[in-house]
């Protein structure tokens, strides 16, 4: 720039005018001086002409000129209209924005889809969190319903249920709750009228039921006298049980049923959707008799209460803490170190791990949303750079910077609104998929729908999106140096600046998406690992079910199970059958073991093992070979030497290099009565999951199989290996059991393959969601990378042309473009991978047999992004080599 121009600007800048006035005046004075310079040059030559111009600019009079800020109402017809603010102005901006977006449909569509995906996914996660955590219990003032539990800090135990004695002490002493009751989970066999069925139920005191303020839709609720230990047993039915089992018969009240073999009367039916406290389908009164057992022993209960109006959780906690302190003083032997914990019901019910996971996923999806916003910001920025001329004209026509910025924001808002509508549709689909994936696993109060609050969230997301994506382009455009742009068409400073900005945005985007990709890839591998896992036992063509005997003597139990096995062995289509305490895979129970003749320094040093008791048929049913020794045989019955078959892993850990056969191990070293079993065989290690735990620490643990007939168990899992479709035997299995005991239901009927898949449903669902997030993030980052590279190349077409004119080969140009992209890629990906690994450690909950720093995964992520970046470079680079040097030079 000529020196005089710079000085002129300085002088005018000192006048204290608004930026737009300043721009106009500088422009006007510049023109004047330029023209004068041209005239003078002809008369006195260039140097003298410049000197005279400079003199005018440096004239102190100019510096001191008192130019009051002018209010030029009639600067131009257009500007006065443009200045319009308020609703009319906004409406015009929206119209203009819509028109302007339509002029570049490709960009607009891409940005809209990107944002819609971002908003859609975020909305899905919000709907999940809202539905299960935020919305609360579907009861009147559900947030006032609290769970009362205990914690023992000295033993580092949290969330313990209360002993009956503690419960009654709290109940009688407390003033914080208007109602205070107890409940306990229970599973019952219901029979006596229809086919036997096993249902999740709850024992509730009358007060615990009234905490919800929900009345039965039919019949009556529990009364205090229902809790009398010797009164007649009554039950309440859930709506679904009433509908499915009793065909919604309103005459069900008064009907006699058997609950766990005990006679009971139906007194009421609860309304639809009521499952308090734990997906319960049936309720029985909680009969507590604290005087029958010593303090601290006997049945334990969960306390539940409704806070009195005006009482806070902090106050309730303080009051119950004081009561707990008194109990601990009076009964130190059972209650030393025991504190009371009062928590909102949902908070206390959802495991903290799930809380953390849900919010971690919300964070992850927030990153996807951010990637989408960045993308849109980038696309808008590119548009802004292409529109510098348009903006300059609008500015000189009198549009203020604020108006220009507003116009860009409104465009972003128009785009976000369309994206939000699309996002809502995506969310609807996503939620439907999630609902069907999670069917039966969600707590009873969870309601995953597009609630009005979810729509409010979508609207909020749209506003955030329009600000996040529109602000930067708006500011850039408004700051654009108008005179430069108008003066010549060469690259103005504004486009250089927006180039830097958008390159920065792409790096940011790459960081986010590579971080997400790392997490997504790790969880994908986890899900694949789970899918392809070879459990070491047969899962195909095996039907399973479970029976639980109501109270009867041990001998009767054993005899009954013998008859069950005989019956099912005769079923048509049954190739092999077995009974076991539980099913392999998710059914292993953990216990400590001790090898005979060894000393262990303490309880924590006993080796652990997973245990199942099985009948001889187990090995054939599940195709488990015996490597050494023998399997559990028919001869292993009560009265003979108790035996065990251990797995290879057990041998490796406890008998390295030695023969385990003939050695004895104690299966209950922590008990006063030892349970010695003799090892008679070795089998290969079978897959084992932690039941109810998202994180399988070691899926290949030490395992011990003992003889089912040498143990006493009230429940048995039945497994039938079939010749064909395993589900075909379900009906005959039910009939076979019913022929032995018509009151005994067979429940959890499912093919073994489903049982195994079911045990990892959480990883499949949440892992699957992470995969979706990762793919979307990758797609968005690719679009972003491509858009920015294409944009920066298009701005450099002239430079390319000149380079080519000066003899640069096409390869040089491609290399030039590539280097630009490569730097961004390198920075973005390395930072992102680093963050991703950190995040994966936090999200370790959903990782299965994958390490957070898995080199293969990280290479794949880097390779994927590099390939994407490469692809994003190819088209612009190729186009760059096609730029015509002559045309480029001419346009300069």
């Amino acid at each position: 720039m000529d020196e005089w121009r710079a000085r002129l600007r300085n002088v005018v800048a000192g006048w204290g005018l608004s930026p737009e006035e300043q721009t106009g005046i500088v422009d006007e004075l510049e023109q004047h001086l330029e023209q004068e310079l041209a005239d003078l040059r002809l008369r006195v030559g260039d140097a003298a002409a410049r000197e005279r111009i400079m003199k005018q600019v440096d004239d102190p009079a100019l510096r001191d000129a008192s130019v009051r800020p002018r209010h030029r109402p009639a600067v131009s017809v257009l500007s006065s209209r443009e200045r319009g603010a308020g609703v009319a102005g906004l409406a015009r901006d929206v119209r203009y924005g819509w028109r302007s977006l339509r002029t570049s449909p490709g960009t607009t569509a891409m940005a809209t889809i990107a944002l819609a995906l971002g908003i859609g996914l975020t909305t899905v996660m919000f709907t999940i969190i809202y539905g299960v955590l935020l919305r609360g219990l579907p009861f009147e003032q559900g947030d006032r319903i609290a769970m009362v539990m205990e914690a023992n800090s000295s033993r580092r135990e949290g969330e313990l249920s209360l002993s009956m004695h503690d419960f009654f002490t709290y109940r009688d002493a407390q003033r914080s709750f208007e109602t205070f009751g107890a409940w306990g989970p229970i599973t019952v066999n219901i029979s006596g009228d229809e086919r036997p069925e096993r249902v999740e139920a709850a024992r509730l005191t009358a007060a615990a039921l009234s905490v919800t303020r929900v009345r039965p839709s039919l019949g009556r609720a529990f009364r205090a006298d229902d809790e009398a230990p010797n009164g007649s047993l009554v039950v309440l039915l859930s709506h679904s049980l009433w509908r499915d089992r009793y065909a919604s018969d309103s005459g069900v009240i008064g009907r006699a049923v058997r609950v766990n073999g005990q006679a009971a009367t139906v007194v009421g039916v609860m309304p639809d959707g009521f499952g308090f406290p734990h997906e319960s389908k049936l309720w029985v009164p909680f009969r507590l008799n604290p005087s029958a057992v010593p303090w601290g022993s006997g049945t334990h209960v969960n306390g539940v209460g409704r806070l009195r109006t005006g009482v806070t959780y902090a106050q309730a906690n303080a009051e119950l803490a004081a009561i707990a302190g008194r109990i601990a003083r009076d009964h130190p032997e059972s209650n030393a170190g025991v504190r009371a914990v009062v928590q909102p019901f949902i908070r206390a019910t959802i495991p903290p791990r799930v809380y953390a996971l849900l919010y971690a996923m919300f964070g992850a999806v927030g990153l996807v949303f951010l990637v989408a916003c960045t993308n849109v910001a980038n696309l808008l920025l590119a548009r802004a750079a292409h529109r510098t001329k348009e903006v300059a004209i609008r500015t000189t026509m009198g549009a203020s910077r604020a108006a220009i910025a507003r116009q860009f924001l409104v465009e972003a808002l128009v785009l976000s609104t369309v994206a939000a509508a699309l996002g809502a549709a995506i969310a609807q689909v996503g939620i439907a998929a999630f609902r069907s994936a999670i069917a039966g696993q969600a707590p009873f109060w969870a309601d995953f729908r597009l609630h009005p609050q979810v729509f409010a969230f979508i609207a909020f997301a749209a506003i955030v999106a329009s600000l996040a994506s529109g602000l930067l382009p708006a500011i850039t455009a408004a700051r654009g140096n108008i005179t430069d742009v108008l003066k010549d068409q060469s690259l103005g400073s504004s486009s250089r600046r927006s180039g830097r900005l958008s390159r920065g945005l792409v790096v940011f985007e790459l960081v986010l998406s590579s971080a997400l990709l790392v997490v997504a890839a790790l969880t994908t591998k986890s899900v694949l690992n789970l899918r392809s896992i070879e459990p070491g036992f047969r899962t195909r063509d095996v039907m399973t079910g479970r029976i639980t005997l109501s109270a009867r003597g041990a001998e009767n139990q054993s005899a009954f199970f013998d008859r069950v096995e005989e019956e099912i062995a005769r079923l048509p289509g049954a190739v092999a059958t077995s009974l076991s305490t539980n099913l392999p895979g998710s059914g292993w129970s953990g216990r400590a073991v001790a090898v005979e003749g060894r000393t262990y320094s303490g309880a924590s040093r006993w080796p652990g093992a997973r245990h199942l008791a099985v009948t001889p048929g187990f090995f054939k049913t599940f195709d488990v070979a015996v490597l050494r020794g023998r399997a559990i045989g028919v001869e292993d019955r009560v009265g003979t030497v108790p035996v065990a078959v251990v797995n290879q892993r057990f041998v490796d850990r406890n008998f390295p290099g030695a023969d385990p056969l003939g050695h004895r191990i104690n299966l209950s070293p922590d008990d006063t009565v030892a349970q010695w079993v003799t090892i008679v065989g070795v089998f290969p290690t079978l897959y084992a999951t932690d039941q109810g735990s998202i994180n399988a620490n070691n899926p290949w643990p030490s395992e011990v199989l003992t003889a089912f007939r040498q143990e006493s168990s009230g429940s048995a899992s039945i497994a039938i290996r079939t010749a064909g479709d395993p589900t075909s035997v379900a009906q005959s299995l039910r009939a076979a059991v019913a022929s032995l005991d018509p009151d005994l239901p067979v429940y959890s009927l499912a093919p073994m393959s489903d049982v195994l898949a079911q045990s990892r449903w959480d990883v499949r669902i949440f892992g699957g969601l992470f995969v979706v997030f990762g793919i979307v993030a990758l797609a968005l980052a690719s679009i972003g990378l491509y858009a920015v590279l294409a944009f920066s190349v298009s701005r450099r077409e002239r430079e390319m042309g000149i380079r080519m004119a000066l003899g640069a080969a096409g390869a040089d140009i491609v290399g030039l473009v590539f280097r630009g992209g490569a730097v961004q890629l390198a920075i973005g990906v390395s930072v992102g991978v680093f963050l991703g690994v950190g995040a994966a450690r936090l999200a370790g909950a959903v990782l299965f047999q994958v390490h957070a720093t898995d080199p293969a995964i990280i290479s794949v992520v880097i390779a994927t992004l590099a390939a994407t970046g490469f692809a994003a470079c190819v088209a612009p680079a190729w186009r760059a080599t096609k730029s015509d040097p002559v045309r480029s030079l001419r346009s300069e």
Binding site: G24, V75, S76, G398, L486
Partner: protein, 110 residues
């Protein structure tokens, strides 16, 4: 060249006269003043533009950006009703003044 005071007092008069029949931009105004006064009257931007903006503020003239195809936009000034009234008053005043001066000094316009 004329004394500053005299010029200052007459500058607005000059501008309004030049805009009476035609809209003109700043440089053109300066050029016209210079050429018609045969170089006696010239303005620097330091005096011309603050003057124009002041007159605009006072509501005598209106500045307007005009854009023509293929040309740079320029700011043109035109006189409005208030400006015309002011011009009329200035003319009357000037004539009165000139007559008075003539009478006192014996100078006559050729």
């Amino acid at each position: 060249m004329l004394g500053t005071d005299l010029k200052k007092g007459s500058a607005e008069f000059l501008v309004l006269s030049l805009l009476e029949h035609e809209r003109r931009h700043g440089y053109e105004l300066n050029k016209l003043i210079e050429s018609r006064s045969k170089g006696v009257l010239t303005f620097h931007i330091a005096s011309l533009y603050p003057l124009l903006y002041r007159m605009e503020d006072r509501g005598w003239i209106v500045g307007r950006w005009v854009e023509k195809a293929g040309e740079r936009r320029r700011r043109f000034y035109s006189i409005n009703a208030a400006g015309r009234r002011a011009l009329g008053e200035m003319r009357d005043g000037w004539l009165e003044f000139a007559a008075a001066v003539a009478q006192v000094t014996g100078v006559r316009y050729g």
